[in-house]
């Protein structure tokens, strides 16, 4: 057997073990890289050719690039919305269509002036696409709208509505996003002076999921400890002060304060589960 053939066979065996991140449709990894790198003019040019052939991924990429193509104008944003609707008119249930629906909701929410009720409806329509990742994205984006933008809801109602999104927002697909979602819920409660047992539970869930961002990970411990201390749960506070001290870099300027707050607490006990 030739060496070349052997290499090909080995490669073929390895393929199922590690999927190759092949760019979809007629697009290239470089095209999406331009978009990820905020190089919108270059991305717009890169996607334009393939989009003209009707490739659905390229049309999606082109719309995303045009959305921030400088100078950003209301006319261009309208063109993006039209392009996305055209994409959906052609087929509404493949993957480019799901991303297009999500981007349309974002266009309405962030790039155009749209009444919150319409934006909410667009996000809610995406919740049923679970387990696709756009359902998790939509659920998390809906939370701040409910907590801060829905003027017809009281802060308590807004928080309750946002917390009802947990089954869609807490997903293993995007754990960093789940952590951010729980922190948004807790942040809303703290902002509206409504922090309670539930707030603590949200932060604890964020800590349980865990973040690879060192600052987020250590800050969640501080927040839990501070809130637990305020609510009189000293064992829980001590546990998370200790977790902070064990994981934060010593150059974190909160280090001494946390050390002293831990020392001020009663002798350590195990936190309740």
């Amino acid at each position: 057997m030739s060496r070349r053939l052997l290499t090909l066979l080995l490669l073929a065996c390895a393929l199922p073990l590690r999927p190759v991140a092949a760019p979809p449709g007629a697009t290239t990894t470089e095209d999406w890289g331009l978009l990820a790198g905020l190089m919108f003019s270059e991305a717009e040019t890169a996607f334009a050719t393939a989009a003209a052939t009707g490739d659905r991924w390229a049309r999606l990429g082109h719309a995303a690039a045009l959305l921030n193509h400088p100078p950003v104008t209301p006319r261009k944003i309208n063109r993006v919305a039209e392009a996305l609707r055209a994409l959906l008119a052609q087929a509404s249930d493949d993957e480019p269509a799901l991303f297009a629906r999500y981007l349309l909701a974002r266009v309405a929410h962030v790039h155009q002036t749209t009444p919150p009720a319409e934006v909410e409806a667009a996000y809610r329509a995406l919740l049923d696409t679970a387990p696709h990742v756009v359902a998790q994205l939509a659920a998390t984006r809906l939370a701040p709208l409910l907590i801060y933008e829905r003027e017809d809801l009281t802060p308590t109602e807004g928080l309750a509505a946002a917390a009802a999104l947990i089954p869609r927002a807490d997903r293993p697909d995007l754990p960093e996003l789940s952590v951010a979602f729980y922190r948004v819920l807790a942040g809303g409660a703290l902002y509206h002076r409504l922090a309670d047992e539930r707030t603590l539970a949200w932060l604890r869930r964020a800590a349980e999921i865990g973040s690879t961002d060192p600052l987020t990970a250590t800050t969640v411990h501080v927040q839990i400890a501070e809130l637990a201390r305020a609510q009189g749960d000293e064992a829980l506070a001590a546990h998370h002060y200790r977790r902070f001290l064990a994981t934060a870099v010593p150059t974190d300027q909160r280090y001494r304060l946390v050390r002293e707050r831990l020392a001020e607490l009663a002798p350590p006990q195990e936190p309740r589960p």
Binding site: W32, L34, E176, A180, V184, S211, V249, T251, Q253, R254
Partner: protein, 535 residues
């Protein structure tokens, strides 16, 4: 006639010599650059303070001795023309391999377009630390004292692009430098003041000495730049407990945004006891300032100090080399005076010394996309920031080291950051451009013998409340821009990432970052909608 002819010949000869020298330099340089056996690495920065260029030169010389086929050229560019120079070089496609980065000079789109992300390299060990048992196996990033934690606003990392773009080389702190000879003459061999009370007493003693001996001496060199270094320290120290009260999200990390939201919600203003107390500190400092000090600029105050007309000057340790070199007397330095929690007059809202532990590393060098030898440039950066390289840099420049285990040079010992301190408090000047202007424009009300906190509060309070709203509104606009751009970037990250690889990927992290920003922005908008109107 003969003399004028000679002059003409001399002028022509001079011109020819200058032309010849320039041509020779150009030709010899060009020859080296096109020599296929020589790899040329060029790096540019704007730190022209004495010691920095010498430090870079020494490290480059050692690197070249190790790698004879490499030439490292340093390109120092004056700060005043830096931005124009940078833009021309980048747009023209002729930028050096390595360029100094700062967030205020390099927006995200510039980083994305012209610079190479360094995250992957930073996760590999630095081979130049191979002989250092404690560093040899650590990723390059973790060989830094602060492990380059990607905090918002640092020069070496882009929060939006989720990438490291720079490799820092030094750290700076703010200190009070003093004329040792004068100080000895006035107060004898006593240790420098540690607390604000001791500092104020020292100023008083210097003023008395000046009057009695009829020697025009200022306790503190004045310019808005230098004095605001000092007032920053006073605010940071005297309002720490108050900042914890405004820390609504309970992360013990009070931010400018939290101060602003609380200001707009009228949870505080200039009349609030901790702020008024800080203003009283500034007033006490201001009483020792001469009339007209606000007209002086940074160079004037450096001159005042170097000529022995002022006993002390507050500035960043980046000026240390210059001060020591240009002053014909011995220069000492001490940390900003503390407002101890036990200070009966000013300590009520203080926790203790302000932590300088997370002062982020500076003098970051980024790799340009047009570099002809990116691997070589990275190798030079590794050497530069190895324990050996950083030790050399620190010893020659007097700037503080950033790599674990690098000894702080004896001369820089007073600059060593306060590590075991507390988070800093609320600083008026840090509430945005308009608040800074208001503070500085009215600082005269807190200076000289007519200084009066009540007048300052009565004059500045209403404009500050209005500026708080303006600044918060500005925040919502700039954040909106980021959020909008991230909608496109998120698709760029998400679409090519296979579903099973999405967890903790850059797609996941960007989605989390965008959500966090969006919630913060909504909170700010809600504050603006629901807070009482500004007076």
């Amino acid at each position: 006639m003969k003399a004028s002819r000679l002059a003409t010949i001399f002028a022509l000869a001079l011109l020819l010599a200058a032309f010849g020298t320039s041509a020779w330099r150009l030709i010899s340089r060009g020859a080296a650059e096109i020599d296929p056996n020589v790899e040329v690495i060029r790096f540019a920065h704007w730190q022209l303070e004495p010691g920095v260029r010498e430090a870079f030169d020494a490290i480059a010389a050692e690197y070249m001795a190790r790698h004879p086929h490499v030439r490292v050229d340093q390109i120092p560019i004056p700060g005043r023309v830096w931005r124009q120079w940078l833009n021309t070089q980048l747009v023209g496609g002729m930028a050096p391999d390595l360029i100094a980065l700062a967030t205020y000079n390099n927006p995200d789109d510039m980083l994305a377009r012209y610079f190479t992300p360094l995250s992957a390299w930073l996760e590999e060990p630095n081979p130049y630390n191979a002989d250092e048992p404690d560093l040899a196996d650590l990723p390059w990033r973790r060989t830094y004292s602060a492990e380059l934690v990607p905090v918002e606003g640092v020069h070496y990392h882009s929060t939006n692009l989720l990438e490291y773009f720079g490799v820092p080389n030094a750290m700076v702190t703010v200190r009070v430098f003093y004329n040792r000879d004068l100080m000895r003459e006035i107060v004898g061999d006593v240790p420098p003041p540690r607390t604000f009370r001791e500092f104020a007493d020292l100023c008083e003693t210097i003023a008395r000495f000046s009057t009695e001996r009829r020697r025009p001496l200022l306790p503190l060199a004045g310019s808005v730049f230098n004095i605001t270094r000092f007032t920053d320290g006073l605010f940071h120290s005297a309002t720490q407990r108050f900042a914890m009260e405004l820390d609504h999200n309970l992360d013990l990390n009070h931010t400018q945004l939290e101060s602003l939201k609380a200001l707009v919600r009228r949870e505080w203003d200039l009349a609030s006891p901790p702020i008024r107390q800080s203003l009283r500190l500034v007033e006490e400092l201001g009483r020792h300032m001469p009339a007209g000090w606000m007209q002086l600029d940074r160079e004037d105050s450096m001159m005042q100090f170097a000529q022995g007309r002022a006993v002390m000057i507050a500035t960043g340790t980046w000026d240390a080399g210059g001060l020591m070199l240009e002053s014909p007397f011995a220069v000492g330095a001490f940390p900003m005076p503390e407002i101890g929690a036990d200070d009966p007059e000013f300590g009520e809202w203080s926790l203790g010394p302000v932590s300088e532990a997370n002062i982020f590393a500076s003098l970051s060098l980024g790799l340009t996309r047009t570099s002809r030898h990116p691997e070589r440039a990275i190798d030079f950066l590794r050497f530069l920031t190895s324990r050996r390289g950083n030790q050399m840099f620190s010893e020659i420049s007097t700037w503080l080291p950033v790599i674990k285990g690098v000894a702080v040079p004896e001369v820089s010992e007073p600059f060593r950051p306060v590590v075991d301190g507390y988070p800093f408090g609320v600083n008026l000047r840090a509430l945005g451009g308009r608040a800074h202007d208001l503070f500085v424009q009215h600082l005269h009300l807190l200076s000289g013998q007519q200084a009066d906190v009540d007048v300052f509060v009565a004059t500045v309070n209403a404009p500050l409340l209005r500026s708080g709203r303006e600044e918060l509104a500005r925040y919502t606009r700039t954040t909106h821009e980021n959020i909008r751009q991230n909608d496109s970037a998120l698709l760029g990250r998400g679409v090519p990432t296979p579903p099973e690889e999405r967890a903790h990927s850059r797609f996941d992290r960007l989605a989390a970052l965008q959500l966090t920003l969006e919630a913060r922005r909504q909170e700010a908008l809600h504050t603006l909608r629901t807070a009482p109107p500004a007076p």
